[in-house]
């Protein structure tokens, strides 16, 4: 009995895949949609900053220092050197977002690989990777980031390295525990019993099943990383003036906290909004992905 060519080429009833289901569920959650809109607006305006403002973020006018918001020509006022706040916040978003997102992506790549290997191979490999992770885990993350960035010297690359190193251990743990769970399921055993190699099994059977918890976790790490990178810049271990960056702006505007509290708080508002949005989005993702 052979299946006719017609039957093969006919499109079978294809069900909704897992990820399109997650997406539909996410769109039904109002909080998640609001978070995605906030993030999209901030990210897009940071990318297209030159189109949205005509000021140069590094050049100010001494006579226009610390103008309150809604002053003529300066929608969000000016900073302590007379530079347009809106312009600096938009351009600053570039650095802050990059320094928040890039370490998480790197940690996801490195930590995810280590965790998958540890979970899938098990035995001694697992013990070595997990115990090494525990050593890094033993330090409070923000202190460790400060210590590493301090030891390497200030600078963007060093801050990036410090943040990545700090974010790897939790990523390894989450990936390892997810992999260990999936590995013991019968379909992995069945794949092994059909002669598939380790890499094929990881690619086809493991990754698809551990992606959900990892994506949720990475999203929640984004909110932490944004705050940590701002923190590093705030204490002078990240971005250097005059480059705009939210954490650094908080620092330089400290002196204005009594004269123009609204201006001084603005970078914090942006950090807060982005961090909170990522955090709530990760909650929304978690419940959207929680279906069997």
């Amino acid at each position: 009995m052979t299946v006719s060519e017609n039957a093969l080429s006919a499109q079978p009833t294809r069900s909704q895949g897992y990820w399109s289901n997650v997406w539909r569920k996410l769109l039904r959650d109002r909080v998640s949609v609001a978070c995605m809109i906030v993030l999209a607006v901030i990210i897009l305006s940071a990318i297209f900053a030159p189109l949205l403002t005509s000021y140069d973020p590094a050049i100010g006018s001494v006579v226009q220092r610390l103008k309150p918001p809604l002053t003529d020509g300066y929608i969000l006022g000016t900073d302590e050197l007379g530079r347009d706040m809106l312009t600096r916040l938009l351009y600053g978003g570039r650095m802050s977002l990059i320094m928040g997102i890039l370490p998480v992506l790197l940690a996801l790549l490195i930590g995810g690989t280590l965790g998958t290997v540890a979970g899938f191979v098990g035995g001694w490999t697992n013990t070595i990777i997990m115990r090494a992770t525990d050593v890094v885990f033993a330090f409070p993350s923000i202190l460790l980031a400060v210590a590493i960035a301090g030891a390497l010297g200030s600078g963007l690359l060093n801050a990036l390295i410090a943040l990545t190193v700090v974010l790897i251990p939790p990523m390894v743990r989450v990936t390892e525990s997810a992999t260990t769970q999936v590995r013991s399921l019968d379909f992995v055993e069945a794949a092994r019993a059909s002669g598939a190699g380790g890499l094929t099994i990881i690619r086809v059977h493991i990754l698809g099943n551990i992606l959900a918890p990892i994506v949720v976790y990475a999203t929640s790490l984004l909110s932490v990383a944004i705050i940590m990178s701002a923190g590093l810049s705030f204490i002078g271990l990240g971005t250097k003036p005059p480059t705009p960056e939210w954490g650094l702006m908080l620092n330089t505007l400290r002196s204005a906290i009594y004269s123009q509290p609204l201006i001084a708080a603005l970078p914090g508002v942006f950090i807060f909004a982005v961090s909170l949005s990522f955090n709530l989005l990760s909650d929304g993702l978690r419940s959207a992905m929680d279906m069997s």
């Binding site: 009995m1 052979t2 299946v3 039957a7 093969l8 006919a10 079978p12 009833t13 294809r14 069900s15 895949g17 897992y18 399921l185 019968d186 379909f187 055993e189 069945a190 794949a191 092994r192 019993a193 059909s194 002669g195 598939a196 190699g197 094929t200 086809v204 059977h205 698809g208 099943n209 069997s292």
Partner: protein, 340 residues
């Protein structure tokens, strides 16, 4: 006439095992406590003739599943040999891959044995593609097999496992196991989770497939009625050992080992006249960690005597093999005539 003409034609079994042993190490804690061993499978031997079905029965925890995993080479035996069509199987990578084409397995949990992120078609085509079959050919096989196990390919190939019923999923698992065109299929409690009417349909399907594809089956179950229905030979396990094996009719009609009798006595029978009056089984099986030195069934056996403190051998009794001192009067067990 030559010697060859005198010897009866030897049929090579599809799958056979000789003296398989597997012990797992249990470490209670790291504080100097000596490691302890779980004797999961001891001195396990059988032959599976081509085209037949071997049923393996026993209580839970008696090593049935470990046996399946040993036969699949998913765990490594401590000693003993597995032969496929008479050829010893080495653990070299290439040999194993070839072995896995020929021996496939269907698991108990129909939903855990299908990847929830893959469509039915992707699940079935996975194994053939691992062995280098083209996507097109693998898809064609998947469609043909789905159709054969009674699922409309046009409706089911694009679906995900959670959208199917337990019976449908188990049919998919059967199609998946057949996709590599194996010689032997091992069913590890494969119908136990299905309800009775679906179970009967699946069992009939299995019998049809066996004839159609020239398969041999190893059928592991705790359900004695199912094993009797589907098997040609049956093998009774107790605490990792084979206590009795033989043709299913003989073992069910005249069980020789006290454990087999107890098992059969506990079997629900529709006919009250058929009830066997055997020694009732008492207590739980001892922990496979602290095994009795002699016969493993002795602590629960109604006929246990001092001789049972030594390990009994497998004794031939016609076509059946029994691991019991009572099977041979010469061994000195006073109740030896009980099982004659």
């Amino acid at each position: 006439m030559t010697d060859q003409g005198l010897t009866p034609p030897q049929t090579v079994p599809a799958l056979s095992a000789t003296s398989l042993n597997k012990t797992f190490t249990v470490r209670e804690n790291g504080l100097g406590k000596p490691a302890r061993y779980v004797h999961a499978v001891s001195d396990f031997s059988f032959d599976l003739p081509v085209g037949s079905t071997l049923g393996i029965v026993g209580e839970s925890g008696c090593g049935k599943s470990t046996t399946a995993r040993l036969l699949m080479h998913l765990v490594k035996p401590d000693s003993g040999q597995i032969r496929l069509s008479g050829e010893p199987v080495s653990r070299a990578k290439r040999d194993l891959k070839q072995f896995r084409r020929k021996v496939q397995m269907v698991f108990q949990d129909s939903s855990a044995s299908l990847n929830p992120r893959l469509t039915i078609e992707q699940s079935i085509t996975f194994a053939p593609m691992v062995h280098g079959v083209s996507l097109r050919a693998a898809r064609e096989t998947a469609w043909r097999l789905l159709d054969r196990v009674g699922l409309d390919p046009a409706r089911f190939t694009g679906r995900y496992p959670h959208e199917l019923s337990g019976g449908q999923r188990q049919r998919v698992n059967i199609a998946r196991a057949l996709a590599l065109n194996p010689r032997v299929v091992i069913f590890d409690e494969a119908v136990s989770a299905l309800d009775k009417s679906v179970e009967a349909q699946v069992l009939n399907l299995l019998n049809e497939l066996k004839a159609e594809f020239g398969l041999s089956y190893i059928f592991i179950s705790h359900d004695l009625n199912v094993v009797r229905y589907i098997s040609d030979h049956v093998l009774v396990m107790y605490l990792g050992q084979v206590v009795e094996q033989g043709p299913v009719d003989q073992v069910y009609a005249t069980p020789r080992h006290p454990y087999t009798r107890a098992l059969l006595a506990s079997m629900p029978s529709p006919d009250p006249e058929q009830r066997t009056m055997a020694a009732p089984i008492t207590g739980d099986p001892p922990s496979p960690i602290d095994l009795p030195p002699g016969c493993r069934f002795a602590p629960r056996c109604a006929f246990a005597e001092s001789i049972c403190d030594t390990m009994p051998y497998e004794l031939r009794h016609g076509e059946t093999r029994v691991r019991c001192h009572m099977a041979d009067p010469k061994l000195g067990h006073s109740k030896a005539e009980v099982i004659q």
